[in-house]
């Protein structure tokens, strides 16, 4: 299995605490901030916390690409990221035009860009499975 590669084990070991940190920051924001929160240290701090978690997550992906020695597995990961990036650019560009010109279209909060990118990774894994016979490592 692809997960046997030690690079994947290191990726998961880095990913789990970052995912917990990300979810904690989102839950804290939901719990502590009202919908009309004033700009204060708490709001900025929670925003920074979420940003740091995402930055850490991207760093774990970068480390995975550096540490994977198997060139085919590396290709699968790159393909997943390209599909995810294409997916998020397509969705936000399309939705952006719709919400820019029609008041009937609800605004898409920028917050959803990262979760949608992660959904794109899952789509990339599916694309790999269909075209290459295997999905690659964990999303």
């Amino acid at each position: 299995m692809a997960q046997r590669d030690p690079a994947y084990r290191r990726y998961i070991a880095r990913f789990i605490p970052l995912a917990i940190f990300y979810l904690a920051s989102v839950m804290l924001a939901t719990w502590l901030l009202p919908d009309d929160a004033p700009i204060n240290a708490l709001l900025i701090g929670l925003g920074l916390m979420t940003g740091l978690a995402v930055a850490g997550w991207i760093w774990t992906f970068a480390r995975l690409l550096i540490e994977l020695e198997d060139e085919f597995l590396k290709l699968l990961e790159v393909r997943k990221m390209i599909v995810a990036t294409g997916f998020i650019l397509l969705i936000t560009s399309m939705w952006g035009i719709l919400e820019l010109y029609s008041p009937a279209i609800p605004k898409l909060p920028v917050f959803f860009v990262f979760p949608l990118w992660c959904l794109g990774l899952a789509l990339g894994q599916l694309y790999n499975r269909i075209t290459m016979g295997t999905g690659g490592g964990p999303c």
Binding site: M1, D70, F72, M132, G133
Partner: protein
């Protein structure tokens, strides 16, 4: 790119995992190369040739 990996492996009674272990790659890599879904880099092609003790062109051929 076509290749004779499956035949050469069968002649030696090696599983995909056996070959993958000798090459230091994943079984998925061997499977993808065998099925023609992935063309290996030149260093990996040389490693495959070394494992089978054959020249690269005796394993891989142009489409």
């Amino acid at each position: 790119m076509k290749n004779r990996l499956k035949v050469l492996r069968a002649e030696r009674d090696w599983s995909q995992q056996d070959l993958a272990d000798q090459l230091g790659v994943s079984r998925q890599s061997v499977n993808a190369i065998e099925k023609g879904r992935y063309d290996p880099s030149l260093p990996l092609a040389f490693k495959i040739a070394d494992v089978f003790e054959l020249a690269i062109e005796a394993i891989f051929e142009r489409n």
